[in-house]
């Protein structure tokens, strides 16, 4: 693992009306690592995500990705720059097949458009085949290829969660952001997910993991950052963070003076 910074999230403040959701949060994500972002409900984790992926423009602060300021970019341009995400409440394209869902992601890096499609140019056909093959590969990688031809809305819950990851990987990201991927999973499924995340990292992706569930975060993350009330209260190795009194207080409430 290198210490090369992939995403630099500096001094981000995010206000909605009078409410401050994030205040001066600074997080660095290093190339090739799995960074866990944790915090109690409403701590600002998803807001962080939304700033990184361009859904919100920050009130203050800069986001540099791979040396480029991405704040002024449009959402799809940020995706093309190399950040892909999943959603806390699954947002698949319900009336497309699983395969097509991933192909939409894979299409992001293709250039052929209306003209190519109308004429079925060799290039368009080649790109289409590439997207299809890549999508099938990813479905296989995620272990859901057996339902490739089913409408996404008809897939079982666990498949849908994996399909979201496959779709995000389809865009060939450098950074994969997972928003509570273990939500609604039982312990066995969580275990499988852990292995999957590690496997994804082995493929060379950098992973940002937002998770509520400590067991997932602590088991797979190389480093962990903790948010509380829109502020970063700790950052470091999982073991250190776990022992940090501020973190314990945030999660368990301030202990009694005993």
């Amino acid at each position: 693992m290198t210490n090369d910074v992939l995403l630099q999230f500096s001094d981000i403040t995010m206000q909605f009306g009078g409410v401050t959701a994030l205040s001066e949060v600074t997080i660095d994500i290093h190339r090739g690592e799995i960074l866990g972002l944790i915090g109690p409900n409403g701590a600002g984790k998803t807001t962080c995500f939304n700033v990184m992926t361009g859904v919100y423009k920050p009130t203050k602060g800069t986001v540099r990705f791979d040396g480029q300021d991405i704040v002024p970019l449009k959402r799809y341009e940020i995706t093309l720059a190399g950040i892909a995400r999943t959603f806390q409440n699954i947002r698949l394209f319900g009336n497309m097949t699983a395969l097509e869902n991933v192909m939409v992601g894979a299409d992001a890096r293709k250039a052929s458009s209306v003209g190519g499609a109308l004429l079925r140019t060799p290039r368009q056909r080649a790109e289409d085949k590439e997207s299809r093959d890549r999508a099938m590969e990813l479905l296989t990688f995620m272990g859901i290829a057996d339902r490739a031809g089913d409408a996404a809305r008809n897939l079982p819950y666990g498949y849908q969660r994996r399909l979201e990851i496959a779709r995000a990987l389809g865009t060939e990201p450098k950074l994969l952001c997972l928003d509570e991927p273990a939500a609604g999973f039982n312990p066995a499924e969580k275990q499988e997910l852990n292995e999957l995340i590690l496997k994804i990292r082995e493929q060379g992706y950098t992973v940002l993991l937002i998770e509520h569930d400590m067991s997932v975060v602590m088991n797979v993350s190389d480093r962990v950052a903790v948010l509380d009330f829109g502020r970063k209260i700790a950052e470091g190795l999982p073991a250190d963070v776990r022992a940090n009194p501020d973190v314990i207080a945030a999660y368990l409430g301030v202990p009694d003076a005993s």
């Binding site: 097949t97 395969l99 099938m136 490739a148 779709r167 995000a168």
Partner: protein, 363 residues
């Protein structure tokens, strides 16, 4: 269970059974057999003007008051073309367009201007120009408005359709409310004479256009463009976060929809020879939309079915005189209550995709 439900269920079941039977027979056919089935089907469609001669079928399909072929050439073909185009905008990309008649009018008027007293160009030259002009109008309308959210788009497009009609009505060089006559007909090819008397050649020309449009739209639908459209329809925000340049693809949907709508206008103008603003009322936009959704929004074949029903049934039911529109309204409500996805909804999730050139997992 009461008898009505039972009989409805039975009808449903037997229809489903027939469908399954057809499907299995279809699957059992070899490629040559399939090809010949296609050819026979297409041939039957081209021979539609003679359907009225067939003993039983004839009395069922024939339209009172208007010649059957004229209904086909002046209404059915036009509505089918329009439904195909609008299906791209509404059915695939999910953009609610209540002013589609505007593009149809632009196509018709461009042809009218180019081939009548103003320029006197041949119809064949006016065809591509009119399509291009319609596309430009699609972009002109789309560029400022496609950033608006869905329902705002509906009212803005509705306004656009009205602006086009009222402008035509009030601009002297567009003929005002008298409209434009002496529009040229398509050139005759050998024995195919595009004149005033015989509607058959127009029907054949229109049917050929329908097949061409279907062919091209099918290509688009099964490409990156079509996937982007459907992704936008399903969840625009998610699509953008998956790297889809949503604005660009929405604009394309508008432009292509407009082009097909314009084509329908060209065909209409070339057939009837004269147009005026009253041919393009707001109500027509609503009928077009009803056709697409009634048939099955998002499914090309559904849109075609809807186009046929909405244009043909009122002619077939002419005996009702002025009651047919009422019947149409009630039918729309009933279909939406019991089949909200339309009569022929898009089937998602076929086994076909698994047979794709993937290596792993699929069986």
């Amino acid at each position: 269970m009461n008898p009505v439900v039972r009989s409805l269920r039975q009808v449903g079941a037997s229809l489903a059974g027939a469908k399954a039977g057809l499907a299995s027979r279809w699957n059992a056919m070899g490629p040559t057999q399939r090809l010949s089935a296609y050819v026979l089907g297409v041939l039957a469609l081209y021979l539609a003007p003679w359907w009225t001669e067939i003993p039983l079928l004839g009395s069922i399909v024939d339209t009172p008051g208007t010649q059957f072929t004229t209904v086909l050439s002046d209404r059915v073909i036009i509505f089918v073309l329009v439904a195909l185009g609008l299906n791209v905008v509404v059915g695939l990309a999910g953009l609610l367009d209540l002013g589609y008649v505007g593009f149809y009018a632009v196509g018709a008027y461009t042809t009218a201007i180019l081939t009548s007293s103003h320029a006197s160009l041949p119809w064949l030259l006016a065809l591509p120009v009119s399509i291009a002009v319609s596309m430009v109008f699609g972009v002109i309308l789309g560029a400022p408005t496609l950033r608006l959210r869905g329902d705002y788009l509906a009212i803005v497009t509705l306004g656009f359709g009205e602006i086009i009609r009222l402008s035509a009505k009030n601009a002297e060089w567009l003929g005002g409310s008298r409209g434009i006559n002496d529009i040229k007909h398509p050139p005759s090819i050998g024995p195919l004479k595009f004149g005033v008397v015989d509607p058959k050649p127009y029907y054949w020309l229109g049917l050929t256009m329908v097949f061409a449009v279907m062919f091209l739209l099918h290509r688009l639908e099964n490409s990156r463009v079509g996937r982007a459209w459907v992704a936008i329809r399903e969840d625009e925000d998610a699509a953008e976060l998956m790297g889809v340049d949503t604005f660009r693809f929405k604009l394309w949907a508008f432009a292509i929809g407009a082009a097909v709508g314009g084509l329908a206008g060209v065909q209409y103008a070339g057939k009837v020879g004269f147009i005026n603003p009253d041919n393009f009322p707001l109500l027509l936009s609503i009928l077009f939309l009803a056709a697409v959704v009634l048939g099955g929004s998002g499914n090309m074949h559904g849109a075609i079915l809807g186009g046929i029903l909405v244009s043909y049934l009122p002619e077939r039911l002419r005996n009702f005189q002025d009651k047919r529109v009422f019947v149409f309204g009630v039918a729309l409500v009933l279909v939406m209550v019991f089949r909200p996805e339309g009569l022929l909804p898009k089937k998602v999730g076929t086994r076909k995709a698994v047979a794709a050139p993937g290596e792993g997992g699929a069986q």
